[in-house]
Subunit: 122 residues, 2 copies
C-alpha cells in the first residue's frame, strides 16, 4: 500500500473505532510523539490503547494528505461537540506500515499587531 492510502486507512479505522484495523496500519514498534506536550507512546498495543481511550465523542475529517514512499503528512479536523480542532500528523513509513508519528495540535490565538497594514482577517 502506498503512503497516501496507508494514511487514509489509518484515519478511516480511527473514525470507525475499528481498533484491529487501526493497529494493522502501524508497525509493532511504532513510536508516537506529541512535540507540544513531549508525550511519547511506544509499541502497537500501547498506541492502540492510547487512541482507544482518547476522551470525547470525537469525529474526524481528513482535509489533506501529502505522502511519498517513506513519509507523509495529514491535516485533519476533529469535531467534539461544537468545537473543531486541527490535527497535523507527520508520519514515517517502513515495510508498508507507519513507524513514526509526530502529532501537532495548533490552537487559535490572538495575532500580534503587525508593522505593515497588509494583513486582513478571514
Amino acid at each position: 500500500m502506498d503512503g497516501h492510502s496507508l494514511i487514509k486507512q489509518y484515519w478511516r479505522a480511527c473514525e470507525e473505532r475499528d481498533w484491529e484495523a487501526f493497529g494493522r496500519t502501524v508497525a509493532p514498534d511504532v513510536v508516537y510523539r506529541d512535540p507540544q506536550t513531549r508525550e511519547i507512546v511506544r509499541g502497537r498495543a500501547d498506541y492502540v490503547a492510547f487512541n482507544q481511550t482518547y476522551p470525547g465523542d470525537w469525529h474526524l475529517t481528513v482535509e489533506r494528505v501529502i505522502a511519498r514512499d517513506d513519509e507523509g503528512v495529514s491535516w485533519t479536523s476533529f469535531a467534539v461537540g461544537d468545537e473543531t480542532m486541527t490535527g497535523l500528523c507527520f508520519f514515517r513509513f517502513g515495510d508498508g506500515l507507519i513507524t513514526e508519528i509526530d502529532d501537532f495540535w495548533p490552537e487559535p490565538y490572538e495575532p500580534p499587531t503587525r508593522e505593515v497594514p497588509v494583513v486582513d482577517r478571514y
Copy 2:
C-alpha cells in the same frame, strides 16, 4: 523546479533575507493564511512585506519537507534568542510557484491526564 526544491528555495531565501529571491518563489496572486489567527495576506508584494517586517532576529532550520507536484509541507524550527518555535507550512503550487500557504505555529502545552499508563515524556 519540483515542489521539494521550491520549498527549500523559499526557506533559503527567507533565512538569507534575500527578499527578491523570496518573492520569485511565490505567485503574483499568492494567498497566505494563518489558520490559528485567521490572518490572511494576498499578493506577492504584500506577502514579501509581511515577511520582511516580521519582528525578531529569527533564524530558521528546515527539519522536513514532503512534496509532490501540486502541494507540499515543511516543518521548520525558528530560533529567536534562546527560544525555538516550530512552524508547519502547507503549500500549494501552480506553474512552478507557490500559490497558497497555510502556516501553523503549534505551541507547547501541559498534557491532560491520560486514562491509560502508556504515555511517557521525552
